[in-house]
């Protein structure tokens, strides 16, 4: 293996990643030559408009989508070469949450959180104990016996976060995790993610189309535009000095909102 193709330790690295969907009569390029590395312990944001390829990109990290070209290194190992068994066990070390929460509707909150543990063969009693710990972490200990249909959107996402953390993953992928939530709930979910990052040391990748999400919790950000990375850097750097057109488009209206937000600390700010 050439040195270029070797991973470099504990982190997520995408190299020359491409994804093309073939339909009957044409090819649709979803991702083209994506190069990224996400360092351990950081919160990395990927922002872009609808159709930019964000969701496909994040699904390439745990191979829910199989890339058409390129490599995905996790902790130095090229997971695109994993067999099915290693892939399934790898996925247990990467949590994921979704825009629509995707909770199991016929299971109680507690049994949703124990689900990934059941899947990896953890004993029932130990799984319950672990799930209760996590429900406490997300502030829903009292809802363990409720069913998802009885919860609000924010509560559902908290359950989903608890579930994603059940197997003690090192990485957490968030696919538009706050896009279906109102502004106040969004803020509290983002605070929870930040807390998880800081107290548990979980590396988080956040996919979003909202700049305020990036601004509120991310350390670094990549801007995705038309299947390619237009720009990448620390949030403050990209925020104060966006070089690409798409970054300026995404940031500028939000920046006005953000500075206003800082000036009026007592008010609720959300007017979009």
């Amino acid at each position: 293996m050439s040195p270029e193709l070797k991973g470099r330790g504990r982190m997520i690295e995408l190299r020359h990643l491409g994804k093309t969907y073939k339909t009957a009569n044409r090819e649709i390029v979803a991702l083209e030559d994506i190069n990224l590395s996400v360092q351990d312990g950081e919160i990395f944001g990927i922002i872009g408009l609808s159709g930019a390829g964000k969701s496909t990109l994040v699904r390439c990290v745990n191979l829910l989508e199989k890339p058409s070209s390129g490599h995905v290194f996790i902790d130095g190992e090229d997971i695109t070469e994993f067999d099915r068994k290693s892939l399934l066990s790898l996925r247990r070390s990467i949590g994921m949450i979704f825009q629509d929460f995707n909770l199991l509707e016929q299971r109680s909150v507690l049994r949703n959180v124990t689900f990934p543990l059941e899947v990896s063969g953890v004993k029932r009693a130990a799984a319950r104990e672990r799930a209760m710990e996590l429900l406490k972490l997300v502030g829903l200990s009292d809802r363990a016996e409720s069913f998802p249909s009885q919860l609000s959107g924010g509560q559902k996402q908290r359950v989903a976060i608890a579930r994603a953390l059940a197997t003690n993953p090192k990485y957490l992928l968030c696919d538009e995790a706050t896009s279906a939530l109102d502004p106040n709930t969004t803020r509290s979910i983002l605070e929870l993610l930040k807390k998880i990052n800081q107290t548990l040391g979980v590396t988080i990748i956040v996919i979003t189309h909202e700049m305020k999400v990036i601004y509120q919790i991310c350390d670094r950000v990549a801007v995705l535009d038309q299947s390619r990375i237009a720009e990448e850097g620390s949030v403050s750097e990209v925020f104060t000095n966006p070089r690409s057109k798409i970054a300026r488009e995404l940031i500028l209206p939000e920046r006005i909102g953000a500075s206003w937000q800082k000036n009026s600390s007592t008010e609720q700010q959300e007017e979009v």
């Binding site: 745990n62 829910l64 399934l88 066990s89 790898l90 996925r91 247990r92 990467i94 949590g95 994921m96 979704f98 629509d100 995707n102 909770l103 199991l104 509707e105 016929q106 299971r107 109680s108 689900f115 990934p116 059941e118 899947v119 990896s120 016996e145 409720s146 069913f147 998802p148 249909s149 009885q150 989903a160 579930r163 994603a164 197997t167 992928l173």
Partner: protein, 231 residues
């Protein structure tokens, strides 16, 4: 008020026997049809191009097979399958042969009912389970089937009512039950009240199946918050 025939049939317990036979045929055939149809439905669903284990040829061939049996009217299928019944249960007449017919006719029907119930399961939930490293067996056993359960129960009620209807037709090859009583004592011997009595009893049986099934489906469905909070 009632014809002599109806009174006699009742006094000799023929109608009561008919009720019992109809119920027992329907329930037994439904159970066997599900033993065959449920796995078929699962295979149809997961091997679909959009499924969790796409296998184009298996899906195609199984789909053709199911459609083949479903497109033959039951009364014709019954006659055509007489030799098969003889092969399986040794006779081509009577209730045992009838159960074979009912199972042959109902299994493909059940497979499609199951397939359509599984299709209702949110694809996002499957994806979430995949992201947690669930294997295909776990996806079917712990996600697809439990999440589709209320819909599967509703489907089984519809299947049972269909099978009950088939069982009446099966009296033409010597099956017994309310259908046979209606045809041979009611229709053929000009006792319309016997026929109507069988019709009303059948309607009652269908209603009971329907009500009980719907009640169970609703009771076990956790998507409706009413009353299901406490286990």
């Amino acid at each position: 008020m009632f014809s002599e025939m109806l009174v006699k049939l009742w006094e000799n317990g023929i109608i009561q026997m008919g009720i019992w036979e109809t119920i027992y045929m329907t329930v037994l055939s439904s159970m066997i049809a599900y033993v065959i149809g449920l796995p078929l439905g699962v295979i149809l669903h997961i091997t679909d191009a959009e499924g969790i284990y796409p296998l184009r040829w298996v899906n195609r061939i199984l789909g053709l097979f199911v459609n083949f049996f479903r497109s033959i009217p039951f009364i014709i299928l019954m006659v055509a399958m007489l030799p098969v019944a003889k092969l399986i249960v040794g006779v081509s007449l009577g209730n045992r042969a009838m159960i074979v017919m009912l199972v042959i006719a109902a299994s493909p029907y059940v497979a499609r009912m199951v397939e359509s119930s599984l299709k209702e399961v949110n694809a996002g939930v499957i994806e979430a389970a995949q992201s947690m490293g669930a294997n295909n067996f776990q996806l079917v056993w712990k996600v697809l089937l439990p999440e589709a359960k209320p819909s599967l129960i509703v489907g089984s009620v519809i299947s049972m009512v269909t099978i009950l209807g088939y069982s009446a037709m099966a009296s033409t090859i010597g099956g017994t039950g309310l259908g046979q009583i209606a045809i041979s004592y009611g229709h053929q011997r000009f006792n319309p009240d016997v026929t109507w009595c069988c019709v009303i009893l059948t309607v009652i049986i269908v209603q009971v199946i329907q009500e009980v099934g719907t009640w169970i489906a609703h009771k076990t469905d956790k998507r409706y918050s009413g009353g299901s909070a406490v286990k």
